[in-house]
Symmetry: none
Subunit: 156 residues, 4 copies
């Protein structure tokens, strides 16, 4: 688990500095529904604990939706944003924060890439392979990122 978080963190910082540098993790088998459900539940539980109404999506390694839940009172736009964060994270095998940081760093061309460039999407890894991704939306970008990490941490 610790190793997995470490990999994700390294990947994020690498991607922040320059796009696609370092070897990205390979794709693996699609995440199982049992795991996806656990990830969604852990993220929503933490969001509830912080009184944050949020939408949480988990997609598989092909970017296809596996599980989704939206807490009562979550803004409607987050339904789409959470899913697109998860999809972006799988499609580019990196946290969406990497794209957000790139834009903050001045690389506005990222806005033309067709990705969801806001923190809150993180690849889900198992044995060093991307088996899916979580996408969270409903709070500030950093809040979304924290809740997404709570989901990642449930993937033991």
């Amino acid at each position: 688990m610790k190793r997995r978080l470490l990999i994700a963190a390294l990947m994020a910082s690498a991607a922040t500095g320059a796009f696609a540098q370092g070897a990205p993790p390979p794709y693996g088998a699609p995440i199982a529904i049992e795991d996806a459900r656990r990830v969604v539940a852990a993220a929503l539980a933490e969001a509830t604990r912080q009184s944050l109404p949020m939408a949480v999506a988990v997609v598989d390694s092909g970017g296809h939706l596996v599980a989704f839940e939206r807490a009562d009172g979550t803004q409607l736009g987050s339904i789409r944003v959470a899913q697109e964060k998860a999809r972006t994270s799988v499609e580019f095998r990196r946290p969406t924060k990497a794209f957000e940081d790139g834009i903050v760093g001045g690389r506005n061309a990222i806005l033309g890439l067709g990705v969801m460039p806001i923190e809150g999407g993180i690849p889900l890894l198992r044995d060093g392979r991307v088996i899916g991704a979580i996408g969270v939306s409903g709070g500030t970008a950093p809040q979304d990122g924290v809740i997404a990490q709570a989901g990642v941490a449930a993937l033991r």
Copy 2:
């Protein structure tokens, strides 16, 4: 519960005979995540019991996704189809079977309506109001309908 199923059945047969006949149920407040989760779990549990890999979506009274789960081994096309069945059921406040029956009855114009005209989408009612809908996909149309009913039945 019995009363609710009865209403749904009446609504379905009304819609089959002719479109939009009889007073459709009014829209109510959006379904709560607790209820949506229960509906999805009941439907997937029944699908698993019948060894049917399925996707189950619940949308609220605005047609917006609240909860979604896809069992391992479900065909990918069902991700989209399940959601569109649920959305269609809310948008027209009737089971998707009504549209399918209409086409079977020769009314092909329904195909231009932009709906998902296959059994498996059913409105979720509370106190006579549409609070959302369930959409199921993965089996034959009648199988999808049976599983969707199992989800409806969980909404006490």
Copy 3:
């Protein structure tokens, strides 16, 4: 090889009779580029031998494009159609001919399903699992189907 074609044929006929009857083959790992290239080349070679200008697409088990070629003189519409046939075949794990036969048999509701219901898309199996699909367009539906089979046959 023979066995694989047999399975595909059985699946097609099963799907023709009634939708999603019989256990569909499970999804497997995504097809490798070497295999996809071989499938496309074999299909286009056969199309050329028959003087048929065609577009040939191969997608992986997630429905994502792996290889595509379009012969000189192919109608532009076939670019999209070939890809959608392949995608449909993966998303529903059956030949697109199953959908076409369903409509011929009177089940017009299929037209609302959002699939490409024309012969010419066939799942690609390895060890009984769907690793992708081929989609062919440019000729008549039966011609597209024959060329697609030539592609399937190259997957040894």
Copy 4:
């Protein structure tokens, strides 16, 4: 060949300085599949030599896909990005780097143009006419550009 690369280089620098200055090359006949296949193969060979998993697309002078290949292990997002780079290059008869440079130079309005403003798309010229374009994605923008040039160089 040398002359063609020179033209491309001139065009790129012209486009960088200011949009649409200088006479852009006219459109010619659509690239033949033989040529498109050679361009894709050369680009992918160079990408493999550099151990870069990439997607390579070639479109014709109408912006329509002619050939596409995606190496094993390429990020899924590159399927779309490679094709959009190629399409952008044909639609505006210039390398996509011209748009990226424009944004780097402060012209953010380009982001509203609906183009893929990242290096890696280059027009394919024959006798001074645009017969198509190559689009490459999978590495950093400069890496994509180098691989795209390897594809351009195969068009003798």
